[in-house]
């Protein structure tokens, strides 16, 4: 038994300087992090550290809204969807607004976990785990709304093709049926991708567990992972395949969601720009949510060495880029209406900007186009407080954008006698806030019981992680 090195790798890693990454002044992982410290830091959050007050506050807040959500569910299921403000012609109302908003939020998680993995953007390694968890919980929230909006939610399985005594089958030419397949596939693939990536970290928790009960719990979850080269090879292979599958999938999901709109002939919806418009908007709002989650977590759990200013900066840049794509589509919509010369489209543009709900249009422009321009400034991109505020504004703006698209297109349809003004009821609001609470509660349980940062992938970013001295990626 001998120690061959004068300087053990732990010590060398802790003393490795920031200059290791000469191309970027902002380090992905702060100096002073080693294999042992990263494992200890992340696993202690789950295993040994006292649960912070912030966690209890956030979790209780989430659970309180879940209780409200259950009451709202009772009203929707036992009284009917009439408790919402939906009516004809505005049959979609809040439900589909919330659906599109939530599912869009999920998209940033898949972008971080799959697309950035394929593009070898190794900075993603310390934010992908909780971004994927965000995706899963956001898709759960999203999925509830179409199911509730069905009215008789208990026969939801009628939307699936199955042999039945009624001899009725879904119409495969309808984007609403495509949506069923797109969203359920998206949820399943996100879930298995997330779990696959977590298995090595669950093994770390198993090996570091201070009590027998915790050890058993993580032993079952980690399936007996040993970290052998055989397991790593298959694990990497499956991860890359899932990333390659999830990349077109994430683009397809919001494309199919946009087809729900664009295949209808409603003015303001019937446009070929909708798929890229929706995907860009989805990623935009998703990055806003990623930042709103990671900024408080980073502060509460002291993760500044793993989620560095580089991460905030990069997320903010992606948000700015997708925000500019969105601004372009906002500009092109009135242009195509004018250039196409369709009087219904022209009337819609006028109604959006100057009609009874025109405030939504101008607030959307303010929240999604004007305020995010502050992200051009480096100081805004790397400072947690301004970035958090801009993200919150964007998240609200993106919800309002979907509201505007749905309401202002539907409430002025082709027949002036059926025009109406949509008014949301208290139950509309409570269902929306209820899902926000559900999301927060789920996310807090994830933070408490599962490793929120991928330890295995962060180790790859550390100095001396590659045989010979450098970093692996």
């Amino acid at each position: 038994m001998k120690t061959a090195h004068e300087f053990p790798v732990e010590e060398r890693q802790r003393h490795a300087a920031r200059e290791l990454d000469p191309n970027n002044s902002l380090a992905v992982i702060a100096p002073g992090t080693s294999f042992e410290t990263v494992s200890a830091q992340i696993s202690s959050i789950v295993l040994t550290r006292k649960t912070p007050l912030f966690w209890w506050a956030a979790f209780s807040f989430g659970v309180a809204w879940v209780i409200v959500f259950v009451i709202a569910l009772y009203m929707i299921l036992f009284v009917g969807v009439g408790v919402w403000g939906i009516e004809i012609p505005v049959a979609w109302g809040f439900a589909i607004t919330n659906f599109v908003w939530w599912i869009g939020i999920g998209h940033a998680g898949t972008l971080i976990s799959a697309i950035l993995l394929l593009l070898h953007q190794s900075w993603r390694n310390s934010i992908n785990r909780f971004a994927e968890a965000m995706t899963i919980f956001a898709v759960m929230c999203a999925g509830m709304f179409p199911l509730l909006h069905l009215g008789r939610s208990w026969i939801f399985y009628w939307i699936l093709p199955y042999p039945n005594t009624m001899h009725v089958q879904p119409n495969f030419r309808s984007p609403l049926v495509w949506d069923v397949f797109a969203v359920s596939t998206y949820f399943t693939i996100s879930l298995v991708f997330w779990y696959l990536g977590m298995i090595p970290d669950l093994a770390t928790l198993r090996d570091r567990a201070p009590t027998r009960l915790k050890q058993r719990f993580y032993c079952v979850l980690s399936f007996g992972w040993t970290g052998s080269s055989h397991e790593w090879k298959l694990h990497k292979s499956a991860s890359m395949l899932l990333a390659a599958l999830a990349t077109p999938l994430v683009l397809s999901v919001h494309t199919v969601v946009s087809f729900d709109f664009t295949i209808a002939i409603v003015p303001g919806w019937h446009s070929t720009i909708f798929p890229p418009y929706f995907v860009a908007g989805a990623i935009y709002s998703g990055f806003a949510m990623v930042l709103m989650l990671c900024i408080p977590l980073r502060a509460v759990y002291g993760l500044h060495n793993l989620i560095t200013e580089r991460h905030l900066n990069n997320c903010a840049k992606l948000m700015l880029a997708t925000g500019l794509i969105l601004a372009y589509t906002y500009a092109i919509e009135p242009f195509t209406a004018w250039y196409g010369g369709n009087k219904f489209e022209m009337a819609l543009v006028h109604n959006r900007a100057f009609g009874p709900q025109s405030w939504t249009f101008w607030v959307v422009i303010l929240c999604n186009v004007i305020i995010p321009q502050s992200l051009w400034f480096y100081k805004v991109r790397v400072r947690p407080v301004p970035l958090f505020i801009v993200s919150a504004v964007i998240l609200y703006g993106m919800w309002l954008e979907r509201y505007m698209i749905i309401i202002t297109s539907l409430d002025r349809d082709f027949l002036p006698s059926s025009w109406s003004n949509f008014v949301a009821t208290v139950w509309d609001n409570l269902t929306l806030y209820g899902t926000v609470g559900f999301f927060i509660a789920c996310f807090m349980l994830f933070v408490r019981f599962l490793p929120m940062i991928s330890m295995a992938e962060v180790r790859e970013l550390l100095p001396f992680s590659k045989p010979g001295g450098g970093t692996l990626m």
Partner: protein, 184 residues
């Protein structure tokens, strides 16, 4: 070597060496390969590609993923054609019953769904999961293999394996510890 003598005639899984850095692990794996050992396995807290070149692994995951994708595509097409054109033919706006462009989104989704789940479950199955126990867990220091330590195990089923010789061979490498792994 008293520890090894005490172990006596207990069946062993192999002899393992512990390293504190990936460079030493890869060097040791190279040395073991050059010495003629074939049944060797490394254990590391993250994936090290250099090791995969030294320890070849038969990887059927991509093939199974492809089969899954093809099955998903076939299922989707048969389901959509069968329902829309044969089982429940309805005229929607005068479109043909076999309106294949409209079938593509579901075909794509089911392809991805089946390919992804096949990849996930095949990777788990080929790893031998779920497997609550592994002989390496008998080494107390192996608990660090998922955090910061790197292990190389020369297994007893190797034709060149000899308890004393293998242990001595590993001692000569830059290991910080060498252990016999009981096979239980």
């Amino acid at each position: 070597m008293s520890a090894f003598e005490e172990a006596g005639e207990i069946e062993i899984h192999g002899v393992a060496a512990e390293f504190d850095n990936p460079t030493a692990l890869v060097e040791a794996t190279k040395a073991a390969r050059e010495a003629g050992f074939r049944h060797i396995e490394t254990y590391s807290p993250y994936a090290i590609e250099d090791v995969h070149e030294l320890i070849p692994v038969l990887n059927f995951v991509p093939a199974i993923c492809l089969i899954g994708g093809l099955l998903g595509a076939a299922t989707a097409w048969i389901m959509e054609y069968g329902i829309a054109a044969i089982d429940y033919p309805i005229n929607v706006g005068g479109r043909p019953l076999y309106s294949w462009p409209a079938f593509i989104p579901i075909l794509f989704e089911l392809t991805v769904l089946c390919a992804g789940t096949f990849a996930f479950f095949s990777a788990l199955a080929l790893c031998g999961f779920p497997r609550p126990h592994h002989p390496m867990f008998n080494v107390p220091q192996f608990a660090h293999a998922s955090s910061s330590r790197f292990f190389l195990c020369i297994e007893s089923r190797d034709p060149m394996f000899d308890r004393r010789y293998t242990a001595e061979f590993l001692e000569e490498l830059e290991a910080i510890g060498v252990w016999e792994v009981e096979d239980t």
